[in-house]
Every structure is written in C-alpha cells, then in structure tokens.
C-alpha cells in the first residue's frame, strides 16, 4: 500500500471505502482489511472484478434474491473466535447456540446464493450449507433457532432431569420452610448432576464438531467474499464503475468520477465534470488556470488507479490502465511540516521517498512492477524562476523512466519536456460579457463562485506547444482588481 491514510483521504479513497456497505460482519471485516493486488496478480484481480460485474449484470433480474440474501447476511454475527476456540476446547452453551444459529443461517443463505450464482457464475466463491455440522447441534431435529440439550440425549441426563422435576413438583406443594429446606438440598445435588452431564455433552459436541471447523471457516470466508463483492457492485452502480482493460503502461480513462468531490459538489448544487485523460510511461503534464481543477484531475486519476489495486472498479465510462504496484502522490498540502522543514523542503524529502519506493533516483535499485507518480504543483512554494527550472528538470528525468508520471504545474516551459500535455479548458470559451454581467449582479464575495460556475473543468490535449494560458489575468479582470494594477500587468505581458 503506497499511500498513507492522509493521502488516501486526500484523493478520496477513504470516502469510497466508507461508502462500501457490507451486510454481514464478515464482509465488514473484509473491508477493514482491504487486500491490495500486486501487478503479478492481475489475473486474480480480473477474476475478482469479473465477479463484481457479474453481480451488477444480474442485480436487476435477481432483485428479489439479492434482497433476500442481504437480509439473511444482516442477521449474521461474527463468531469466528468461537469457531477457532472450538478447535482448542469445549464451547459453552451460548457459543454452541451462536454456532447453531450460524449453521442454520448457512442453510438459508446457500440456496439463495445458488440461485443467484446459476446466473452470475461467480468464480472462486461458493457458499455451502453446513448441514453436517448443523445435524450435530440440532439435537432434537427441530431446526429450532435455540440451543437446548434434550432429555433424550443421554441416559444420565434423562435420569437427572427426571429426579429434578420430581423434587421441583414437591417443592411447589411444600408449604413451610421446614418442608422446603431438605427438598432444596436434594435439588442442589440433582441440579449439580444435571450440570455435570450437560458439560460432558457440550465437550463431546465440541469434539465432534472439530472435523467440520475448516468447512465452517471456509463458509464464513465465502460469505465475506460474496458480501464484499455485492458491496462493490452497489458502489459501482451508484457511482458508475466499469470493467477495466489492463494494459502494461498505457492509461486511457474516459469520464472518470471522484465520488467524494462529486458528492460534495452535488450538495452545493453543482455537478462534477468528469475527467478524461490519456497517459503512458514517461511524463504527462497538466497545465491550466487557477481554480481550473488541475488538482482534482490528478486526485481523480490517483483514486481510480489506487482503488483498482484494492479490487474496486474504476469510476469511469471507459478505463484502460495498468495494475500499478504503487501509486505515489507528492502534494505540498499533504506534507508534514512537523518535520521542521519548510513546505518546499518537505516536498523534496517526500519526492526522494517516492523515488526510493519506485526504485528510481539515487536508490538505483529497480523496484518491482510498475509505479505511478503524481506530482501536484511540484515546487510551487519556491521562487517561480527556480521552481520552473526544477520542475523542468524533474519532468525531463521522469519522462525517461519506466514509470507513469502525471504532474500539474503553473510553470512555463515544462510541457515540452513531457510526452503529453493537457490543459484545463478553463475560461477559454467563456462568454466574458455575460460573466461580467453576472458578477456585477452578485455580491462582491460571490464573484469567485460565479467564475467557478462558468469554469470548464474539462481537459483537452494540447497538440502544438504553446505557453501556459493567461487565465489568471482574466480572473483578475473579472474580479475587478484595481485598474491601475491591471493596466500595469497588461503592459508587462
């Protein structure tokens, strides 16, 4: 896992994980301990993702079955520890009760799963009813959802219970404490005998269960896998997930979504502009206006590549990308200034860490698999002239490496060092007069919101090299920067 918690939070990955709602505690545990696929496990990932798609494809047609299995899984309780304890010693009556409940539930879940699976044909997931183990615990054969050792189970138990019952009947008839006392004493003795026999029965049952424990645990794992698959399918339906085509370096993403940002915008009654981008080994540069969503584009790409390695379908219309062994983000706002470094210094330190993790730079040792490096406004904290030179050199270096690099920048002269150049459409096609009018109508502090509403967050590929766009000047004009300063800027351009 190449991103720490804060970075996962920053790109919107934690938000996606929190949106994964499993029905059973087994599925929840699976979400808490996400498995990340390495690049050599591409086949297993594709099988896993294929299962998610198969659930999506059958979701409508088998809505009743899915609804039923969800309800059944919701009733499960996590009793893995009891099962593990059973391997070592006898279970108590409550543990046996809970195990019986699980086994009964497995008998209800298995046929519903089978009905779904006949159509979905999930690979590597099989929920089997644990009928043999249940037969051991279903002592009276009633399939009752309770646990009681019936009198008929053993001679000794029957004898003890019978004697106890007789004493109790006498006790009910007894009027005085003098009559009751000897009866109570007898009762204590008989109840102890009953307890002793029940304990022996529980020990024998626990032993008899032992051969079935691996099967029970496998059943729990299968439920976890199915529940997790179902949760991912629901997530993909909600935010538009697509089966990706795995490549060995090429990225072609069409209309990617970022659920966290999209939901935040929806709350503010605005819509997320999907991000489309193509990149490959070497460096790809995104330039564009302030407020133009360069960082959002970068985060969205990071999210989708990272989520893929956790077995989550990319949120996109179409997705072609490699399974990366590491997705690395260098962003000033994520750097820890507690290290006593300036934000710029911290960024360089982080950059070096990323280089080492990818086996690049001074590390000199090739790391396993393919890595993606995302630089958000690298070196923005230093003086622009030096910053531009640094970013140009970094871009030139990364463009030669066997890794996929995407970076956003403000600086001129970076794009020509990269293999591909994207620009945020920004204010290019804006109807200036109209926006000016709207700003005039709005209150001064809402000016930025008006511009945001007219900003085109889409990316377009820049084929013929040109300088960075001059949207900053446009924004200054629209927001009515002091006239004297404005005219001065214009003479400087």
């Amino acid at each position: 896992m190449s991103l720490n918690f804060a970075q996962q939070e920053n790109i919107g990955f934690r938000y996606v994980v929190d949106a994964l709602r499993c029905d059973s505690p087994y599925g929840d545990a699976r979400v808490r301990r996400l498995r990340f696929y390495a690049s050599h496990e591409a086949e297993a990932l594709l099988e896993d993702l294929g299962n998610v798609c198969a659930v999506m494809d059958t979701f409508e047609a088998y809505a009743a079955e899915y609804g039923r299995i969800e309800r059944l899984m919701m009733q499960l309780k996590d009793i893995r520890r009891s099962v593990e304890r059973c391997a070592e010693g006898p279970l108590n009556e409550v543990e046996l009760f809970e195990l019986k409940r699980f086994l009964l539930q497995s008998e209800l879940i298995a046929p519903v799963f089978a009905a779904i699976n006949a159509a979905a044909k999930l690979r590597g997931i099989e929920i089997r009813a644990q009928s043999e183990a249940l037969a051991l615990l279903d002592l009276d054969g009633q399939h009752a959802a309770t646990f009681f050792i019936p009198d008929t189970y053993s001679q000794a138990l029957r004898a003890a219970r019978r004697e106890k019952r007789l004493v109790e009947e006498e006790l009910r008839r007894a009027k005085t404490e003098a009559e009751r006392a000897p009866l109570m004493a007898t009762r204590v003795r008989v109840a102890a005998a009953e307890d002793e026999e029940e304990r022996a029965v529980r020990t024998a049952l626990s032993e008899a269960l032992r051969p079935f424990l691996p099967g029970i645990l496998a059943c729990m794992d299968a439920i976890a896998a199915f529940d997790f698959t179902l949760a991912r399918a629901r997530l993909a339906r909600r935010y538009g997930g697509v089966m990706p085509e795995l490549t060995d370096g090429v990225i072609e993403m069409e209309e990617m979504q970022n659920p966290r940002i999209a939901d935040a915008l929806t709350e503010r009654k605005r819509a997320f502009t999907p991000v489309s981008i193509a990149a490959g080994k070497g460096a790809t540069v995104i330039t564009g206006a302030n407020m133009g969503g360069k960082s959002v584009a970068l985060k969205t790409l990071a999210l989708n590549a990272f989520a893929l390695s956790a077995g989550i379908l990319p949120f996109a219309k179409k997705a072609r990308l490699p399974l990366f062994d590491g997705v690395h983000v260098v962003s000033e706002d994520l750097e820890n200034v507690d290290r006593g470094l300036s934000s710029f210094g911290a960024e360089i330190v982080r950059f070096n860490e990323v280089m080492a993790e990818c086996g690049l730079g001074n590390a000199g040792k090739k790391a396993e698999g393919l890595h993606m490096i995302l630089l958000d406004e690298f070196a923005r904290g230093t003086n622009p002239e030096e910053g531009a030179m640094i970013v140009r050199a970094v871009t030139r270096y990364l463009n030669r490496q066997d890794a996929v690099t995407v970076l956003t920048t403000h600086y001129d002269g970076v794009a020509q060092e990269a293999s591909a150049h994207y620009e945020v459409v920004g204010l290019r096609d804006m109807d200036t007069a109209r926006v000016k009018g709207e700003i005039a109508m709005a209150s001064p502090e809402q000016g930025a919101d008006v511009i945001a509403a007219h900003m085109n967050y889409g990316l377009y590929r820049v084929e013929r090299e040109q300088g960075c766009p001059r949207d900053a000047l446009n924004i200054c004009r629209l927001l009515s920067l002091t006239d004297e300063i404005l005219s001065d800027i214009e003479t400087l351009y």
Binding site: N92, V94, T146, R161, T176, V188, A191, A192, E194
Partner: protein
C-alpha cells in the same frame, strides 16, 4: 393479602427498593410464585446485577430468585453458571455488561437464577419488547440499589416500591422518605410539551408562554436567570431536558419570588434528583412538578426486619405507611413465620459481630439513600 391483583393489570412491571435489603427479591419471589397459578409467561431481567445468594454489600443472607418452568430470563453470560434451571438459550442481545453479553434463556425447569441485565434504559426497553416477541405475557425488571433504580419505572407501566427497616433506624424517616419517593414516582403527566417538541429540544430547557408560544432557554442564560428575568414573566410551563437537581433549583427558590401555577416538567421521575425539602419549597413558591412519562406505583411493600440487626413493629410500620400514602401497602413477610427465618438469626449473629467492630462508625448503611431522595 396477595400482590397479584395489584399488579395484574400491567404488562410490564419494575421492582425497586429504597435501599438494599428492603425485600425486593422476596417480593419478586412472591410475584413469581403467585403468577404461576395464572399460567402467564414471565420475562425477567434486572438493572445491573442482582440475585446473589449473599449480599455483596452487607454480607447478609439474601433469598435467591426461584423461577418457574417456562420463564424467560435475560442475564449476562457469566451468570449462567449460577443458574440451576435447565437452560434453553433462545437469543443473544448484543448488550454488553461487565459480566459478558446479555443473553436470553428459557427455563426448561424450575430453579434458581442470578440476574445481571443491562443498565441502559433504552436497552431495557428493547429487552421488554424482545420478551413479548418471544411469547412473554408480562415483563418484570428487578431494580438495583442507587439512583439507577429510577430508570426502572421509566421502562415499565407500573412499579412495586420496596421499603423497610434497613433504610433507617428511624421509623419516621422510613415512612416520610418512602412517601416522598412515591410522590416523585407518581407525578402527574405533563401536557404542555408535545413529544415532537421535547425530541427537538437541543438546549437545556423549553418554555411555554402564557400565549401558547414555545421558546427555548437561550444558551447564555441559566434556568434560574431566565425565570427571574422580567422577559420570562409570562412563562406558564418549563420542560427541562436533563436532570433537575437541588443545585439547579436553589437560585430559583431563594429568589423570593412566587411562580404561581408554573409547571416544571421532566422526562420521567428518574430525572428528579431533589430532596424532600426542595420539593416542599417548590410547592411554597407555587411551582408544581410533572413528568412526560408517568408511571404508577402498583404497591408498596414494607419489611420490618433490618439487615443491620434491628426490627420495627410490623403492624405499626404497616399501618403508619398505609395511612401516609395513597397506594396499597403490604408486609413483604406477611405469610412468613419466624421459625422459617433461620437465616435471619444467622444474619443477626454476623451483624452483631461486625457492629461490635464498627461501634464507633456512624450508620454506614445510610450512604446512598441521600442520592435517592
């Protein structure tokens, strides 16, 4: 006199004591025994732990809880080994206690049980519902010592209040304090604030004005500041969302102002943590109390025997208590003859030995009673 006719109308019942050794368990056993004739299925639990055979606080003998076949009980896992009924586990609740999760058990024989149920009101309320869904006709909650006991009425339709010589050496104190507890438990139902209004109350208090309008207590004002300020002169009723304590009311009572007809409401009796003196002063100031969830006191039981080695005259205690309250009063040991109380003599010896050792320490048993009243 039987308890059964007094409690029969209610579907859920709580048993609470003014102090330890008030005879709560004896009352519970009497109810269990009288109920067996009716063929009704009981659901039984406690607030926190109860039912030990020796009182863990006073080291005196305590009767066990003896249930009949068919009874449903909710108790913590760790307590099951002390339950000598034949047990059928019928459910788990997910309610944790220091003694393990609370589980539901059906008694498949008569026998002794030890109860350790949840101590959160919401969980107790839910548990009662579970009892009914499992086929219980009546749910009984056994309360424990301390102010927590007052949660019990909040989750039941009616309460049996147990009192006795263990509460105080002074029979007047026993009677007056029990009567006061009864008053707090039987406060009238308030009618000024709807359930929605109470649920939406995020601040400390709500005011109902003379003109019917609703107004929350401003963040920067205390209840007494507001009530004394002229801006709130036309308040008709107050609803306090949390607990009402002596400290909260003192500034109001010492303001030297009359609040004629003002009704002070709280959620239920458990939210009133006030002394008898405070209550009397409220009445003098023209303030009356009301609760959103009213309960009934089905009966008061008195126990003339103290766990601390002295007894009251049983007839005097009974008749004076009866004269003082408007609720049926019974002697908990009415049908028990002295020779049946061998354990009592044994306790007397143990207590005498202990009191010898503690001769100079004053009335240690009184602690805890203060907070109840």
């Amino acid at each position: 006199m039987l308890l059964l006719p007094l409690i029969e109308p209610y579907r859920s019942l709580s048993i609470i004591g003014m102090c330890k050794n008030a005879g709560k368990t004896t009352v519970l056993n009497r109810i269990l025994s009288e109920m067996q004739e009716t063929g009704k299925t009981l659901g039984l639990t406690s607030i926190g732990r109860d039912g030990e055979s020796v009182d863990v606080v006073t080291q005196t003998h305590k009767p066990g809880i003896y249930v009949r076949k068919g009874t449903l009980i909710a108790t913590a896992v760790e307590m099951l080994k002390y339950c000598d009924i034949s047990r059928e586990i019928v459910g788990t609740t997910g309610f944790p206690t220091p003694l393990g999760e609370v589980v539901l058990v059906r008694a498949r024989s008569d026998g002794n049980v030890q109860l350790a149920g949840p101590s959160i009101t919401a969980q107790l309320a839910k548990l009662a519902g579970t009892f009914f869904s499992l086929g219980a006709d009546v749910a009984i909650v056994d309360g424990a010592l301390s102010r927590k006991t007052l949660c019990a009425p909040a989750v039941s339709e009616a309460t049996v209040l147990c009192t006795g010589a263990s509460y105080s050496r002074d029979i007047d104190t026993v009677i007056e304090d029990t009567a006061f507890a009864t008053t707090l438990l039987t406060l009238p139902q308030q009618s000024n604030f709807s359930e929605e209004e109470r649920a939406a109350c995020t601040g400390k208090a709500l005011f109902r004005m003379e003109d019917g309008s609703l107004c929350p207590l401003p963040q920067d004002l205390t209840l007494s500041d507001a009530l004394r300020s002229p801006a709130y002169a036309c308040v008709r009723a107050v609803y306090v969302s949390g607990a009402v304590t002596d400290a909260l009311l003192k500034p109001v009572l010492t303001a030297g102002k009359r609040f004629e007809g003002l009704i002070l409401s709280v959620e239920d009796g458990s939210k009133l943590l006030i002394r008898r003196g405070t209550y009397d002063k409220l009445a003098l100031c023209g303030i009356s109390l009301a609760v959103a969830r009213a309960t009934r006191v089905a009966a008061i039981t008195v126990n003339p025997f103290s766990a601390y080695g002295f007894n009251f005259d049983k007839d005097e205690l009974l008749s004076r208590m009866q004269a003082r309250v408007n609720v049926p009063v019974l002697n908990v040991l009415e049908d028990v003859r002295v020779e049946d109380m061998a354990w009592h003599a044994e306790d007397m010896r143990r207590i005498a030995a202990r009191e010898e050792a503690e001769r100079n320490t004053d009335c240690s048993h009184c602690c805890g009673n203060e907070e109840l009243i």
